[in-house]
Symmetry: C2
Subunit: 591 residues, 2 copies
């Protein structure tokens, strides 16, 4: 039906006759001739109809925005002064000879180039119109290209694409499952997978050696801006491989994607132990674009009378840290108040500060409500440790270690953004040497990754001092976002049972939930490990989208609904009866 | 952890030291030395340990089947007379120097090379062991390669991989849906998609122009050998394209896969109208490997007294057809009785036959219980029309057209297989010009494909004579199996409404079920069409597997369960309460 895409018609075709199809993007009546901008996936082309071609002219005159047309015409250079350097087809136009209206269009629910005034619900309801916008076309096209590049990289490295089930059993990620009632097994339910974790480990036990899948995963959680009920992950697992090899391999994949799709060389990714990341950046996903670090200052504050600092400075479960912000002395009182509120979100009870005006004058050159509590001498020692310069501001956090890290870590990122401190566009790293477990308030343990992550010590050492054990996990972090994470897995049955024991999972629960994995470990499981990348988030980062919904063709709203198809919807009683379930009566109080 | 895969160690490595990992496939103690066959994904390698290497020898002596080992040794040519030409690594062996047991293995639940005596349930329960078998490894690896080849072909042809939702609304295929109760929308349910049909049409309305997806689809139907609750489809849609273009394109894809993965040139696919397929082969998916055709013989039978033939020969809704089977005269009475039973499955009340012994003797040379009813003259005219030769048998069907087609069509395929009549290994074709509708017994209409298929006539003609209308649908058939099917879709709102009207779908139901599609057709839908291939079935055909379960890593049983993970399983009352549902009480009779 066409010889070219609209966007591909260019100077090389001058004097040739072309046929193309697309949507009327704009129609103008100018000096007795009709100008149509016709749009398809590849771009826009300008078509001119003059009154000589009576039929075509009349048809062109009658079309409206978003009509679907097929046009034949002759390509010619644009008259001098009317070319458009910013447009792929800006050097030419087509003199229209025939125009065929393939479909009419009602007035669009919103103008495609004025969508910003339109609520997201309207855009989602008419998603098929929203996706005509070049921005959406580009994002989804980019997503397709990245997926393809990842696949090709992995396939070229010997990874096999193997599908794992969607209708399965509850998986061990611990979020809420989506359930599917079974018709043939009364009272039983499938769960949609939160990840293919156990299946990919079983594929390693089967000897497939290298597996990947672009896998749909499901979590029935309350949604945030970067969460969706169903999301997509680049899922990878390999056998007979150690941390270095798998990290090197997937780093190669990400570098390859950046090089091919963004022409960006990410360089080698530094590796940072979890403890260093927490100490320096207050986060296990540090944003290394920001040239600021948290610095411990307990040593200067343990012996002062000021309890707010002295108490945490002496408590091993607490931390007192400083964040020096170059240029921050210009922050107004109001701005500082805002940042104080901001760190409050993370549980910080205040935000002490010292402005450095004229450091050469000693404490006289500083401005702060807290120097009198810290003492001149201690203050100057802190300034010295921080290498404070005129124009800096120093913020302090003093609280439980977790609170200080989260508050100052978040403040660091916020200041980095607000003060535009980024030293580069992209900063990737690996965070490694995570603890195996976190201790809960009641003294029980939680796995920091998941219970199949291998520790870097023996089962005996693990059981003796679980909180000291490090795992063989690794997270890839880009610009302060966790892009992906994984680990070397446990392939030894005794080790797996030890981890379950430390986590307080009874033998009965182990059998019930993971019996088939424990069985598989008995029959010759190879050493293996892997990792998973959040594809939606990766695309979001790469395209600079502000919401994950911008990189998904048909996303759900924050209440997990699709306003276009009206899903979820009602179903008939017959359907429910076939599935052996019924609705809980609304009026009835919960049992 | 290794320098080579086991299966990649060959003559080019002689005298080199290699390290490899894998499973102990066989251990033999022979002449004071230990032989281990070590297996990984790429194949087997033979390793020899002699008592000189004390530690390694003792370890090698102690390993058992399916132990996971890491071995370092020197490659050497096998002694003369012990080479194995059938084995990739059969010219060499490795003299083992070090062996490291990476994991032990309990005795496998079944021997990997003796699986045929094992019930499928045991194989599925220990699927991770079953998949260690080279046959399973090969099938799933082949599947991965075919998927990859299809993707690359489509991407190279400008198709974008776009994901469509799994949690969605009931789709229009009409099979039973899998439902997912919504937590956030009380009393509402998502449906898992039976296909991405409407979403891919909307992507065309959005202007993506060329879409593909390897898509998971779900149908809660009773299972047959080639059905699974979840299955995978290569899903394709394109805009501004006609039947010829899309058929040519996907034919190119299938030819490409056959050429690359099987080194088979499928040639050009013939196109056959539905009516010809039914007339000649009694099927809309004819197996063209079998050189036999159904032949109408009503003309000779309308005026005879024998009502069994005469009545259907005169009834336009009936058919009397003959199937000439070369070499079939040798069939025994018992075999003919079996075939009579076989056609009974399709509703045929009998199976008349004539054996051709000595055709040169006229009816004297024929053998049959029915010649006396047909008459000598008519019989010889039929023989002449069929060009019957000595040694043939001719079978007859006389009944409603549907019964004759199904019975003789199936008999043709069965005889083709039983008598090994295949003239070639692969026979692909397109079936086209399907009717738009079938009439049900109550006079209502059913869409032969789906209600979004475009007819090849105008809305007015369609409404006037719906049963005469042909559709713009096309099915790709390979060796008697429907590999894929599709159509040019309706892009015109009025046409879509006409089809819904003919199908007796009320306006209210149209809005309720397909409102968003009808809306989308208003806003400038381009002409578009597409097709979907059943990937599982394609792989099954290509690998010669006898069950679809052989080409799926973790399939469900016939009762839609996974015996390995014990899915579906029980869930807690809390989970059900969160989802606003409860179990229907078993004792209670249906309401």
């Amino acid at each position: 039906m066409r010889t070219h895409y609209c966007g591909d018609i260019n100077e090389t075709l001058i004097d040739q006759t072309v046929t193309f199809c697309g949507w009327v993007h704009r129609r103008r009546d100018h000096g007795g001739v009709i100008f149509l901008d016709v749009r398809d996936r590849e771009g826009l082309v300008q078509v001119v109809f003059d009154p000589d071609t009576v039929d075509a002219f009349n048809t062109a005159d009658s079309v409206r925005s978003e009509f679907v047309v097929q046009i034949t015409g002759r390509v010619r250079g644009r008259p001098e002064g009317t070319t458009n350097e910013n447009m792929k087809t800006g050097m030419i136009e087509v003199l229209g000879k025939e125009i065929n209206v393939l479909n009419k269009a009602a007035t669009p629910p919103f103008p495609l180039d004025g969508y910003t005034d339109v609520g997201e619900d309207v855009r989602l309801k008419y998603r098929y119109m929203d996706m005509r916008r070049p921005e959406m076309q580009e994002k989804l096209r980019f997503r397709s290209k990245v997926t393809s590049a990842a696949r090709r990289f992995l396939e070229d490295n010997g990874f096999l694409d193997i599908e794992t089930p969607i209708l399965t059993r509850a998986t061990p990620e611990g979020a809420r499952d989506y359930l599917v009632p079974s018709r043939t097994h009364e009272g039983s339910f499938f769960a949609l997978p939160q990840s293919p974790q156990l299946f990919k480990q079983l594929l390693m036990v089967s000897g497939f050696d290298r597996y990947y899948q672009i896998a749909k995963c499901f979590r029935d959680e309350d949604l945030r801006a970067d969460r969706q009920p169903e999301f997509t992950q680049i899922d990878i697992e390999a056998s007979f491989i150690n941390e270095d090899e798998i990290m090197g391999m997937v780093q190669g994949m990400i570098k390859d994607i950046f090089a091919k799709e963004l022409s960006v060389d990410l360089g080698d990714f530094p590796r940072m132990p979890f403890s260093e990341a927490m100490n320096k950046y207050g986060s296990d996903k540090p944003d290394l674009r920001i040239p600021m670090e948290l610095v411990d200052v307990e040593e200067f504050l343990q012996d002062i009378d000021f309890k707010v600092f002295a108490a945490p400075a002496k408590d091993p479960k607490c931390r007192v840290a400083a964040l020096k912000v170059p240029g921050g002395a210009e922050l107004s009182r109001k701005q500082i108040d805002e940042y104080t509120k901001f760190v409050g979100i993370y549980g910080a009870k205040g935000l002490a500060w010292i402005k450095v005006n004229e450091i050469e004058k000693g404490v006289e050159g500083l401005q702060s409500p807290i120097i009198k509590f810290i003492g001149d001498d201690n203050t100057m020692k802190i300034m010295e440790k921080l290498d404070a310069k005129n124009g800096d501001i120093v913020f302090f956090g003093a609280d439980k270690t977790k609170v200080v890290n989260e508050a100052l870590g978040a403040l660091r990122c916020k200041l980095g953004e607000d003060l535009n401190m980024y030293t580069k566009e992209w900063a990737a790293l690996w965070v490694v040497d995570f603890p195996m477990f976190e201790e809960n308030d009641d003294g029980s343990m939680t796995a920091l990754h998941h219970p199949f992550t291998a520790p870097s010590c023996s089962p005996e050492e693990l059981e003796k001092a679980p909180l000291e054990a490090l795992s063989r996990a690794y997270d890839m972090v880009l610009n302060g976002c966790e892009l992906g994470g994984g680990s070397i897995r446990i392939h030894d049955e005794a080790m797996q049972e030890t981890v379950f024991r430390v986590l307080g999972i009874s033998e009965e629960e182990q059998r019930e939930k993971f019996g088939f994995l424990l069985d598989a470990l008995k029959f010759g499981a190879p050493p293996h490990g892997g990792l998973a990348f959040g594809l939606d988030r990766l695309i979001m980062l790469l395209t600079g989208a502000t919401s994950i919904r911008e990189v998904i063709a048909f996303p759900k709203t924050q209440s997990a609904a699709c306003v276009m198809t009206q899903a979820p919807g009602e179903v008939s009683n017959t359907q429910l009866r076939d599935l052996h379930i019924k609705l809980r009566e609304k009026a009835k109080p919960a049992e």
